[in-house]
């Protein structure tokens, strides 16, 4: 053990390696933590750190992962591995080039990304999407902490546009090999038929189940609540996002707009729960202030319902999150202007 420790330490601080020390440093960090101490006040520091933070997010995703393996087979695990490797390579290359640490964020991105794909997605599409997402969603902005868009969503959006056929009409029925173009949302849109709520909660549908991680909604709720209790995700975002969707569709139903599905169906269909619990809550792409988070969640909710009902797409979650990501700087600046108004004395 000691030998490994010394080896990694040496490699990490070896000047001759230049940026190539970064992976060793990361390994050292994962295995042995840090021995750095504070230099001045505050003399003690909280025990929370990014690795623990990200591990919690990954644990919260496990029920969804397990369900997707159960419904669609071990293939799913392979896709996650592919996403990790391809995302990891991009991350490491950039860490070396920039001579910076490897950020753990890609571990969550690499887990989320395959979960928002249809079960039939071939592995090379996962590679393309992941590389594109990490590269254009994150690194071009200057790396973790500076990105405006959620990298997993950028990748997903890209392959939706690049391979439309593959990603919007071939859905696998859970626990079988049947491929259909019907999902609860599309069935509602074309025929106005609602599915059984319990089936939607558990995900064992007779028609296309949607993306891999979306099907087992009970698990998503569990994972999402787990994150909110741990305060790893801010409860305001999912609460107001889902609340807005429910309220908006309820009101629309009162006025008899039948293109908009009833609230419970909105909440239990498509990627809404998954998106609200795991993607809209991504802290980096959320507004800075709590009021800003609420505003942006409300905007997402309204957009989701509108896109679902009135656009060519059946699903609106991904688009509304990405659109709102782009609006967040504006939302932030409005909130900040209010918060830091120059008060007249």
């Amino acid at each position: 053990m000691k030998a490994i420790k010394n080896f990694l330490k040496q490699m990490a601080h070896n000047k001759a390696l230049g940026g190539f020390g970064a992976p060793f440093e990361t390994m050292y960090g994962i295995l042995f933590g840090t021995s750095e101490v504070t230099l001045k006040a505050p003399h003690i520091r909280d025990n929370i750190e990014i690795k623990r933070f990200m591990s919690c997010a990954i644990i919260a995703l496990l029920p969804s992962l397990a369900a997707s393996i159960y419904y669609f087979g071990w293939h799913m695990l392979f896709l996650v591995a592919v996403a990790y490797v391809s995302g990891g390579i991009v991350e490491v290359i950039f860490a070396i080039v920039r001579k910076r640490e490897i950020e753990e964020g890609f571990l969550v991105t690499g887990m989320i990304f395959p979960l928002v794909l249809p079960p039939t997605t071939p592995w090379w599409v996962v590679v393309i999407g992941m590389v594109f997402g990490v590269f254009f969603g994150k690194e071009v902005f200057g790396g973790t902490g500076r990105n405006i868009f959620n990298p997993a969503l950028v990748g997903r959006l890209f392959i939706t546009i690049a391979f439309p056929q593959m990603l919007s009409s071939s859905w696998q029925v859970p626990l079988s090999d049947v491929i259909t173009s019907a999902t609860p949302l599309s069935v509602y849109k074309t025929q106005g038929v609602l599915q059984d709520p319990l089936m939607m909660l558990l995900g064992n549908s007779q028609i296309g189940g949607g993306c891999m991680g979306e099907t087992f909604r009970l698990g998503i709720i569990l994972g999402g609540v787990f994150l909110m209790i741990l305060k790893v995700s801010n409860f305001r975002t999912p609460l107001f996002y889902l609340g807005t969707v429910a309220l908006f569709s309820f009101t629309a139903n009162l006025f008899g707009i039948s293109a908009i599905a009833p609230p419970w169906f909105q909440l239990l269909s498509g990627g809404l729960l998954f998106g609200a619990m795991f993607m809209a809550t991504d802290p980096i792409t959320s507004p800075m202030t709590n009021p800003g988070k609420i505003i942006s969640a409300v905007v997402m909710g309204i957009l989701t319902v509108l896109i679902r009902a009135f656009s060519g797409y059946n699903e609106g979650v991904m688009f509304s999150i990405i659109l709102t990501n782009a609006l967040n700087p504006i939302i932030d600046s409005i909130v900040l202007a209010q918060k830091f108004k120059v008060r007249s004395k």
């Binding site: 021995s35 001045k40 520091r45 830091f340």
Partner: protein
């Protein structure tokens, strides 16, 4: 005594840390060799080596304050030492180990404000809470807040302190305050968990309006105190002095009452000895000027800190003695060295703002140590720092501006001068960014660029016109 509980925004409740002192009080003997420190910068030495000195005699003098000896004896050595980048005089006094029988008595003649002032001046107590500046504008002082905060990780306990303060001290303190600041309302603010202790002690009195402070650090710093007790906002531009709020701790008030009534200098001070690396955490009554090595065994691999783990200074064990400012001496282990798979451990003794460790769910004592517990990463925008910030500003945003070299009016607009340097933001950051330090660096850069607060505010006011 009517009671109201108060609130301030942000803050953090440090609960159950290993090494908290019990309430028993140990009396320490008068030291054989005392140590007194005084800033060398614009300070003047008043004694020579070998000189015999009396209790209460001046050792050094600066523009605003004076150092006096709380020991009778002989000056054996005068040295210089550098502590936290500042030069200090060190006076070593060999004491005759005698008690307090030969004080010079100079009690106040009566309770008129001039007599009290004279007495405090003679007792060198004017520097307590910047008394002098407040007395210069005594009529505009509208409130006096007497307080005892107990929300730091380790701190002096009210139980111990109050058991060693003579009966009716608070009452008599109130009379003194009324005489010094005729227009002031008096407030007594203690942690809301300690109201009962105050009541049981028999010290409570109707002379004060009693306030229970919400049990979060930094309840006892000026700005949160003023905000929670009076609803007044303080910052670097608008200080307690500007607002006419005189803030004083319980122990300082007791010293003042003692000086006025008996003419005795405050010779002893109650301090808490705390921290996981302290052998016997307790309270101690020690003579001012007692060197650290007389109070505790100094160990290797331990960091000693004065008063607060969050905002206090590290102690140089060779050059430290108990002074009028000391309330608590904290010993925490340096390190520890890295732990195998530390991020994946259950964390039975780990404190955190978020309940991700077992310690949040179990009734266990948590460990304080100087390891930073994680690697430096980019800001995640998790918002923990702005959630705990008692000033209600956004440290993560200000940090971003400062790190990118954008030292502009924007920083002032986003109220960087509201930061009270409590250190909580640095404490909670999962990316281990030292926000409090970066913000204070930002403030000094701003001042260098002559973007001092007054100037910018004036500019802003002009623009609005």
């Amino acid at each position: 005594m009517c009671l109201s509980k108060t609130k301030f925004r942000g803050g953090y409740a440090f609960r159950r840390f290993k090494g908290n002192p019990g309430i028993q009080v140990v009396q320490h003997p008068i030291p054989a060799k005392g140590l007194f420190l005084f800033k060398k910068k614009d300070g003047k030495c008043l004694v020579k080596i070998g000189q015999e000195i009396e209790m209460g005699q001046g050792l050094a003098e600066g523009k605003v304050s004076r150092l006096y000896s709380s020991l009778k004896g002989r000056v054996s050595e005068i040295k210089f030492a550098k502590i936290n980048c500042e030069e200090f005089y060190c006076f070593y006094i060999e004491s005759d180990k005698r008690g307090s029988e030969n004080y010079r008595i100079n009690r106040a003649k009566d309770l008129s404000s001039s007599a009290i002032e004279e007495c405090l001046e003679a007792a060198h107590l004017m520097k307590i809470s910047r008394m002098k500046s407040f007395l210069a504008q005594a009529d505009s002082v509208g409130s006096v807040i007497l307080h005892h905060g107990e929300a730091d990780v380790f701190c002096l306990k009210l139980e111990s302190l109050i058991s060693h303060i003579p009966k009716e001290t608070l009452d008599r303190g109130a009379k003194i305050m009324e005489s010094l600041f005729p227009n002031a309302r008096l407030y007594l603010a203690v942690d809301k968990r300690k109201i009962r202790v105050l009541r049981l002690s028999g010290q409570d009195t109707s002379a004060y309006i009693l306030k229970g402070l919400s049990a979060k650090y930094p309840q006892a710093m000026d700005a949160p105190l003023a905000a929670s007790v009076l609803g007044v906002k303080l910052n670097d531009i608008n200080t307690a002095l500007d607002q006419g709020i005189f803030i004083i701790t319980l122990q300082d008030m007791a010293a003042m009452v003692q000086a006025v009534e008996t003419g005795q200098y405050p010779l002893n001070r109650m301090i808490a000895l705390a921290g996981p690396a302290m052998d016997n955490p307790c309270h101690a009554l020690v003579r001012i000027g007692t060197p650290l090595s007389d109070i505790i065994d100094i160990k290797e691999g331990v960091r000693y800190i004065e008063n607060s783990l969050l905002s206090g200074n590290q102690i140089d064990p060779a050059h430290f003695s108990v002074s009028l400012q000391t309330e608590c001496i904290i010993a925490v282990p340096e390190g520890p060295e890295s732990e195998f798979l530390s991020f994946a451990r259950p964390g039975l003794v780990k404190d955190s703002i978020v309940p991700v460790f077992m310690a949040s769910f179990l009734p266990v004592s948590k460990q304080a140590e100087t390891n930073i517990h994680g690697e430096h990463r980019a800001c995640l925008n998790c918002g923990y720092c702005s959630d705990v910030c008692p000033a209600g500003i956004l440290p993560q945003m200000l940090h971003r501006y400062i790190e990118r070299g954008m030292i502009t009016e924007n920083l002032v607009h986003y109220r960087i001068y509201d930061c009270i340097e409590c250190g909580l933001c640095s404490y909670v950051c999962p990316s281990k960014i030292d926000l409090a330090f970066i913000l204070s660096k930002g403030k000094s850069l701003l001042k260098e660029e002559a973007l001092a607060p007054e100037k910018i505010l004036n500019q802003g006011a002009e623009k609005q016109k």
